[in-house]
């Protein structure tokens, strides 16, 4: 996990006096099911209100790609992404929405949120 976190880069927020919201929607997320080894596919939506640092977009893409061959459960994945991104940019508020494709006739979504103060 420290390795994953080291992928994430940030840059200075030039408008810290204003609360404003940034959303990055990544429909091409894929990881592996830890039970079966089968690929999972998801859309990850990151929403946050920056404090002093913003998440750099290309490093975010590489961070998501680092899960490509990892086995991880839906619930852990969502919470871990939130924890890593909070650690990276210490936002005022952040939410991760992970929408997983149909498996066994059921699609799943996990939503986790962080309040910075």
């Amino acid at each position: 996990m420290p390795d994953k976190r080291s992928i994430l880069e940030t840059f200075e927020n030039n408008y810290p006096e204003r609360d404003y919201a940034i959303t990055h929607t990544a429909p091409e997320f894929t990881s592996l099911c830890p039970k079966t080894g089968q690929p999972d596919f998801a859309e990850i939506v990151l929403e946050y209100v920056p404090d002093r640092r913003c998440v750099e977009l290309k490093s975010l893409k590489l961070y998501y790609q680092s899960y490509r061959n990892d086995g991880i459960f839906y619930e852990s994945l969502t919470n871990q992404i939130l924890d890593d991104l909070v650690a990276a940019c210490e936002p005022r508020w952040m939410k991760i929405t992970a929408r997983f494709n149909v498996r066994g006739g059921v699609s799943s979504t996990v939503v986790a949120e962080h309040n910075g103060s």
Copy 2:
């Protein structure tokens, strides 16, 4: 009903210190009309905030499938699914939305909610 409940399995919530939401959408639900014996079709949406236990996805699918040849009314079905899932994982909050296909030119939805504390 005890038999149905025994199908449901749970696993430990690894992030109990955080309130987060899980949604499982199952568009392939089918049961029978208790009056006519004709098949009913529905989409069942389960939303919940876990406390100590999460619902295991494969057991949820098998639980839904156990209704395949049961005769049961819309209102009872929705409330019974809610009661069984609450009993299984004792969530902080849970909601069941059951959307039934058109019958006699009318489609129906039943929504029931549980607050855990």
Copy 3:
């Protein structure tokens, strides 16, 4: 109007201890314009939280069909359906949404609501 109301049947709510919501959507409603005699077409959405009685679905369909050759204005229709259904099942809350097709380049919706206590 007493005749219309006598079409509606109800059954006992088996989950009176819980506030839950039922929606019946009927896209095939038709009546007549009282001015011109021309057919009107609408989608009627019934939403309610039952108290002791639920509306029986087949009787609801027949109730709607009883308007087929009646001349009635949009506003009266919506309020009358609400009054009849409230009288039939005495719900904790009920809402009728009637969406009428385009006439003279204009489509119309009327929404009326009842609070049971």
Copy 4:
């Protein structure tokens, strides 16, 4: 049936030297099921290439409305509408597409065509 045909009016085609196509789409058709007396709902699409006469639009609407309280099967309805409209305006080509709403979980479409020469 002679009565129904007498509802249809036509007007002179001012561009008989050119083959061109006219489509009238009527999503508000309703008649009754001859077995059960229950209402049927359909969208009727009329397409034709006029010869010397065009179908007058308001009379077409009244013609469709004349089925409101008639009991008639899907297949007969479609062919009868085609026969009546062919008799009324003797087109070079005509097609009737009737799309019926879901009944018993099944929706139906009937398509019949006439070649004028």
Copy 5:
């Protein structure tokens, strides 16, 4: 403007004891740009809670048509329609939403609201 207002007709609200909402959606509105004389096209949505009078639908259509060859700005148009309709039926609440088509690559919406008491 008095002339425009005189087009609007109202009828008595038969359910004044209940707060209910009426929406009329008119996607065929057209007026002229006061600068260029070019036609503007808009969808006008009227929502209101009637008090003692309801807006008669056909007169509403004629009222909208009276703008066909008038030059008027978006903001004035929306507020003027609201003022005229408030004057005509003195509603408990009313909202006008005017959605204008793309001009110079930009589409516009103006929303104005009135509270009756």
Copy 6:
């Protein structure tokens, strides 16, 4: 299989002198996977040009329902439905399109056609 075929009923085609097309779309088909016993879900589209007999709609619904607890592969199912319906009404032309829901991230469609002469 003889039992399934005996469910299908037909009625006389009143317009045998005209080639016309009938489509019945059934989005609520369900059977079982013969390998795993898991439910399969499909939409079955029947298109045909009748000769002397038409397929009776209610019997078609019951015929489809007879597969509810049968284990059968996609390819066999589609061809068997075609064979049974051809045997029942001896059409001039018939096509079956079976669209199966996602399994293992893959959705499938099988299309089979019969020419009557």
Copy 7:
């Protein structure tokens, strides 16, 4: 009509050695019903293969606007637009598709085509 035609301007086709197709879609067409004086609304689609001249886009817009206060039937309108545009640019092939909004619950489309040689 000569006046309308004089609005249309053309420019030289720089690629006359190649058959290629141009489509202009105008969703904001409006004229008047010659019977009732009520506004009609349509989308006019012009498709053509130019020969030596192309239709200038701004003049096309003005040509369409010239119908704003004219009373004209659907069938005449479509054929007249085709005749005017053929006269203006003498194309190798041209088609006009006019899709009219719902009137009396029925929407209409008229399609007329010209072959240049």
Copy 8:
């Protein structure tokens, strides 16, 4: 930046006594990425409640076009547009929503808001 601001023009709000909302949606915004020089594409939605001045629509279009060959980051762009428009018309409330196209498999949205008092 002073140059950009000088492009924006305003006109007097004729209805200052009423709080009402104006939305301008511009789906054709394009600028350059300051890192790579590659074009970025966005939809810019401006929503505001005017005080004494409204934003003139054509000048808004020219203002947006002035970014065509500028290199600027998503977050700066959104906040700068908000600052410029607030300076130009001093609104009671204003919000800018900038939706950027997919880059590296990720689409982004930035939302910034201003309260006038």
Copy 9:
């Protein structure tokens, strides 16, 4: 490549006397760009008319998954999948449609077809 082909399994076609079509749509395909190492995402549609053998669905899924960490160009990928599947089941006809996600603002589709005789 021999390894990939060995993943594919087939089963006997029980209806070889009839030409019928099978489609398998796989929206979760992913491989790597051979130049940049970045992930590519695609939907692969396989359509074919079987001769003596059908493609087994689970082996098809595993075959597609075998590309997960391979670097391969769009054009080669599509043709190679076609060659492998033709070799595996020797169909009468087969088509592969590969729809790739947006890269650099451009989405791509490659379609290749095989005729068996």
Copy 10:
């Protein structure tokens, strides 16, 4: 124009023995109107059957971007893109479809095609 053509790069077609089709869809094309200097926006769809050379995707993107500040008419743009791409890769068949955004209430599409032999 020679400069533009020099941007385009190609690579060897590894499957020249098979006729197969490649489509590249670029929804982010922008150029300038030669009359007004205002930006035009279009989606350019390139479809072709390669002979010995395929169009390299990144060079195609750069080629499209080279029009960003050029003034050019719709018809010339489409034909010139076709000529440049035909010159670059000498395909067996090629088609360019250019869909331009609404201007003055009218959207336009130009389609040009080349046959290689």
